[in-house]
Amino acid sequence: LKALAYIQGWSDAKPMSSRTGVAMVESPPLAFADVYARNFTFVYRVVARLAGGGDVEDLVQEVFLVVHRRLHEFRGDARLTTWIFRIAYRTVGAHVRRERLRRRMRELFAGTQEEHSLADAASDALDAARRVRVALESLTFAERSALVLFEVEGMSAAELADAFDVPVGTIYRRLHHARRAFAARFRASEEEAPA
């Protein structure tokens, strides 16, 4: 998470300083209140990026509930931010999958398309942002997360691999698939947009 560490409030990230070449030493374990105060902005940013909308504060709360419950399990094997990131990733992932399932169920039983349909997006050719969101929706959560964190947050593949706890090759594959699927979906919405 080095690439994210510069953001104010991401206090636990400790990049190697290019000025001094000195790496920061990890702080000792902290009380939950301290962990909350020092990592709130970090968690908020991660959740906002991974969830891509919705009530971010609710999800941040869920993440910290898990952190509170499991803080005693943190042994310092990974950096605290990495550990928290994984919790945030799993929490948001579960939320996104739950929401998708709910939407599909509603579509199935109500026989109508939900708000993020391609048709809706195409009906507003000028709304590129919405088309981007619809295209992102077509990706799996893992692909979407990798794409956003790589492209928007500037994380490297190695950092993503560390954060997701997967091999670097998996990250490359996810990015490759994510870009291809995103481009196809985005292009489709562009073509279907009224002239």
């Binding site: 560490a5 510069y6 953001i7 104010q8 206090s11 636990d12 990230a13 400790k14 990049p15 190697m16 300083s17 290019s18 000025r19 001094t20 000195v22 790496a23 920061m24 702080s27 000792p28 902290l30 009380a31 939950f32 209140a33 301290d34 909350y36 105060a37 020092r38 709130f40 902005t41 908020y44 940013r45 906002a48 990026r49 891509g52 909308g53 504060e57 941040v60 709360q61 910290f64 509930l65 509170h68 590129a128 942002a129 919405r130 981007v132 969101r133 992102l136 794409l147 956003v148 790589f150 492209e151 928007v152 500037g154 593949a157 090759g169 490359y172 990015l175 490759h176 870009r179 995103f182």
Partner: protein
């Protein structure tokens, strides 16, 4: 196999995604909701889990039977607790609560809850009485953990550990651990960390120590618990013995990093409440001593004057931060604030130096464009229009960029 970044895609995504910056007050809102969730009783669990938990509870009960249960719920949002270490007792005052010490000698302590909620841990085995008055309610204890909330002429009482005798002018009742008066009253609005701190055993060295003269008992430095390396509460006059002590986050205990963390949170609470001068004093005290939050406090000393537009104070704090934390985790933030301070002072030469240093170290930082803007403007002013145009090509379009390029507006550039 490698994947290169696609700037076009990045711009597209960034424009479409919601800003990932917390909205105003988000931290406080989530904190309050979190506190309410943590204080809520657990959800009903399946039968097999209950059976297993029951067996386990029985086993544990053999060992911990004498331990009292923790408070179950709290209706109130958790307020930052302030700590008053009294003789043989520890008191957490919630919010703007106030407590007055009416009497204290070798045999007893008598305190009065003037307003709000106070949670007490009274040391066992000292043989002294501890009496709390709140309106018409009087609570007498020997060794216990309990809380009181003043409501009109009466007080709500919740006992967590031990036994207390509550008299309310008309009747007297004894409350054991887990009981409340009136029944169901919940006054423990503490975070789990704070509750653990309240319930923590008293230090072994905390032998009877009583103020010999009218020593202000609420002054942290006058007690055993205050004998820590944490700096004393800055610039606060010692309250008189009879004067109510308003709840204030006190950066003083001897409980190691927990105390340091509390001091930091006290400073943050002051900052949130708008008491910026006091927050700065508190941060300065934390930053001046080694501790887990020293760097956070040192950065706060840069950030707060920056928010107030005090560029001189920012530059002084930047120098102090860098002297203490050469490879600090806020190094880049400090660089940005230093740049802003130099710009506010119209010291373009210093700002240009900042830009050169930052861009040499962090050319790909998300905030590098600010430094490029400064460097581009400087080059445009110097008549180096090609260099200025090249520098500003990586700066987002906007009025600042246009203004930076203004000196070159009449010059043709390739």
């Amino acid at each position: 196999v490698s994947v290169e970044r696609d700037p076009e895609l990045a711009r597209l995504l960034e424009a479409a995604l919601d800003p990932a910056v917390p909205r105003r007050g988000a931290e406080r809102r989530v904190e309050q909701r979190l506190a309410a969730r943590l204080a809520r009783p657990a959800r009903p669990t399946p039968l097999w889990t209950l059976v297993g938990a029951g067996v386990l509870a029985c086993a544990l009960g053999v060992f911990f039977g004498r331990r009292a249960r923790t408070p179950a719920t709290s209706a109130a949002p958790i307020a930052a607790a302030s700590w008053l270490p009294l003789a043989h007792a520890r008191v957490a005052l919630l919010g703007s609560s106030a407590l007055r010490v009416e009497h204290e000698d070798e045999r007893e302590s008598v305190v009065r809850l003037v307003a709000g909620t106070a949670l007490f841990h009274v040391q066992k085995g000292t043989g002294r009485r501890f009496v709390v008055r709140a309106g018409r309610t009087r609570v007498e204890v020997v060794g216990t953990v309990f809380g009181m909330e003043l409501e009109g002429e009466h007080a709500r009482v919740e006992v967590v550990e031990g036994t207390v005798r509550v008299s309310d002018g008309e009747a007297t009742q004894t409350l054991a651990a887990g009981a409340s008066s009136p029944p169901g009253a919940h006054v423990f609005a503490l975070t789990p960390d704070e509750l653990a701190r309240l319930r923590a055993p008293f230090p072994a060295a905390s032998a009877p120590r009583l103020p010999s003269a009218p020593t202000p008992v609420a002054k942290p430095a006058s007690t055993q618990e205050a004998a820590s390396s944490t700096p004393p509460k800055p610039s606060s006059a010692a309250p008189s013995r009879s004067a109510p002590v308003r709840a204030e986050p006190l950066p003083a205990t001897n409980e190691g990093s927990v105390a340091a963390s509390d001091a930091y949170h006290g400073a943050r609470a002051l900052e949130r409440s708008g008491a910026l001068d006091r927050a700065i004093s508190a941060y300065r005290a934390i930053a001046s001593a080694p501790g887990p939050n020293a760097e956070d406090a040192a950065f706060a000393l840069v950030r707060l004057p920056a928010e107030r537009g005090a560029s001189g104070a920012v530059l002084a704090a930047v120098a102090e931060y860098r002297a203490a934390f050469r490879a600090g985790r806020y190094a880049r933030d400090v660089d940005v604030l230093e740049l802003n301070a130099h710009l506010a002072r119209r010291d373009t030469r210093a700002a240009a130096r900042d830009a050169d240093a930052f861009l040499a170290d962090y050319p790909d930082d998300a905030r590098a464009w600010r430094f490029r803007l400064v460097r581009g403007a400087e080059r445009a002013r110097a008549g180096e229009c090609d260099a200025a145009t090249s520098e500003l090509a990586r700066v987002p379009d906007g009025p600042e960029k246009t203004a930076a390029l203004a000196p070159c507006s009449g010059v043709e550039t390739p």
